[in-house]
Symmetry: C2
Subunit: 316 residues, 2 copies
């Protein structure tokens, strides 16, 4: 029987589960919609989904060695609980305990952590041992791989790289502090910045791009107009790159990784984005004279990173 692991990617809208083999290939995938459910229904939904997936694993003649979770929130990886998560009212949900009857080892981590593990084991950073993942999406997620192993901090509550300060007492952050990296480097922060530039530059090409309706502003507005040569959009992109890269310089000085992997919606800009980031880091000596190079890579596993990374939690 081939060994395999189940990875569960918990999102705000749906819970996706997949069976993953030791090569990081997804052999089977299923999902359930979660939007607006109560805490107890949430845990029951996960249980039902897993029963189905385990059944499917038997049909495929797979030996399921473990189940891993990627949670978009705060977990306790010792107790196996979800301590805080958007769209869920409760605190300290006993996820692992609710699955004890399945009799399969369970591991729980944060969504950015498992994405980092996926990219390092099977994606953009395959073969590297010291890697930082940053997801530039609604928020900024962080994942840290040290010496080939996922670093999670006490209770799995570390590696919150979006929640170190970029500017003390700066922009309001969702976490309660003011001035976090996330408040400047997230896609949401880019939207805020784009609206500010639109206001300041009434003749920018960006106004045409959004059909003169601020509701059409997206993460693409600045980047696409910058590529077309719009001056205001280029200035905007430079400012945004500066925020993202200054946080990366911090993580150069703190972790000195071999590579950064950039994920999240903004990473769809691909090499256009990473070239600018790489060049910024280089111009600033990776934070320090005599410091070694850190490669800036684009995440490659995209939407599958959650399932593959969660499944990887219990792989050796």
């Amino acid at each position: 029987m081939e060994k395999a692991y189940i990875g569960v990617d918990v999102g705000g809208m749906s819970i996706k589960a997949g069976i993953v083999n030791l090569n990081g290939e997804i052999l089977y995938k299923d999902k359930v919609v979660t939007d607006g459910k109560h805490d107890d229904v949430f845990l029951k939904d996960i249980h039902l989904l897993l029963e189905k997936v385990i059944e499917e694993g038997k049909k495929l003649n797979l030996e399921i060695k473990g189940i891993g979770f990627g949670i978009p929130g705060v977990v306790n990886n010792k107790k196996g609980t979800i301590d805080k998560m958007a769209n869920i009212n409760g605190r300290y949900l006993p996820l692992r305990d609710s699955l004890l009857d399945l009799n399969i080892p369970i591991a729980i981590s944060n969504d950015a952590n498992v994405a980092a593990l996926a990219e390092q084991k099977f994606g953009a950073a395959k073969g590297l041992k010291n890697v930082i993942l940053l997801t530039l999406g609604t928020g900024v997620g962080g994942g840290v791989i040290i010496d080939g192993k996922l670093f999670e901090g006490n209770e799995g509550k570390g590696a919150e790289l979006g929640h170190a300060l970029l500017i003390l007492n700066g922009e309001k952050c969702g976490c309660g502090r003011n001035g976090c990296y996330e408040a400047y480097a997230s896609a949401s922060a880019l939207l805020r910045l784009t609206k500010k530039y639109l206001n300041d530059y009434p003749n920018s090409m960006m106004w045409d791009y959004i059909n003169h309706d601020l509701n059409n502003v997206s993460g693409l507005t600045s980047f696409e107009c910058a590529k077309k040569g719009d001056e205001a959009a280029n200035k905007l992109v430079d400012e945004y790159i500066m925020y993202v890269a200054e946080g990366m310089l911090d993580y150069c000085n703190i972790f000195r990784p071999e590579a950064f992997v950039i994920g999240g919606g903004i990473s769809n800009q691909g090499k256009y984005l990473t070239d600018k980031l790489q060049s910024y880091l280089e111009r600033h000596n990776y934070g320090y004279e005599t410091a070694p190079r850190s490669e800036v890579l684009v995440a490659t596993l995209k939407n599958d990173a959650g399932i593959i990374g969660a499944a990887s939690l219990l792989m050796d």
Copy 2:
């Protein structure tokens, strides 16, 4: 023969070497003055000092298993070089290669790193596995212990915790960036802040404390006058505590350590300092709701931390 290690604490003014046993006890100590020497003399001085200490080890019937260095600068722990250091003109000094004839394993790390290792193995954080050391001195040094092991980053150039931003484009930092944690949390930053408060509060008790001469301002001025109830000094100390603690909140979110150990000149304030820091971290939920407590401890090994920590680099 008892096993022992030599620890070398390289400072701006002197090079101290000691023989340390597996209990972290210093069995013999020696030093040489270094001030103003040229690079080649510097390496020769170290060689001569080590010859003497090794000879002394033989007399004490000790088996020297390794020599470790704590360097106040940037090292390359793979190549065994000192890549950058104040008071030394050269770059990439081949420290390890210059000692090959001693035929003893050599390890090289940064001074704050070895202090962290010393405090975790034999000092304030003995028994804990995940510890952050911060030295509040001329600069801010950082050391990171993860899972009982020293984390140094690629080439040993990580864990530069003083050089993550607190305020983007803020105060000038010695590293070349503007707004680093060090530029707000170091003893030097406290001096700058004290002078600003003296200027703003002409009736502060601090003026008497310094005999109305700004040359007498020290790291003690604010703390000692705050303890005596001076309003301006208390405001000043609160502002300084805020800077130090906000950086610690960042490191809570990034590393989620069991404990912080505070060293450096400012740590002479002892519990008065750590109580204020602990209280700040607590009021801010250690950076996050549901986050576990991080204990704030005072470094206990003081001036011996360098020798003991350097000697510990090659201990199991």
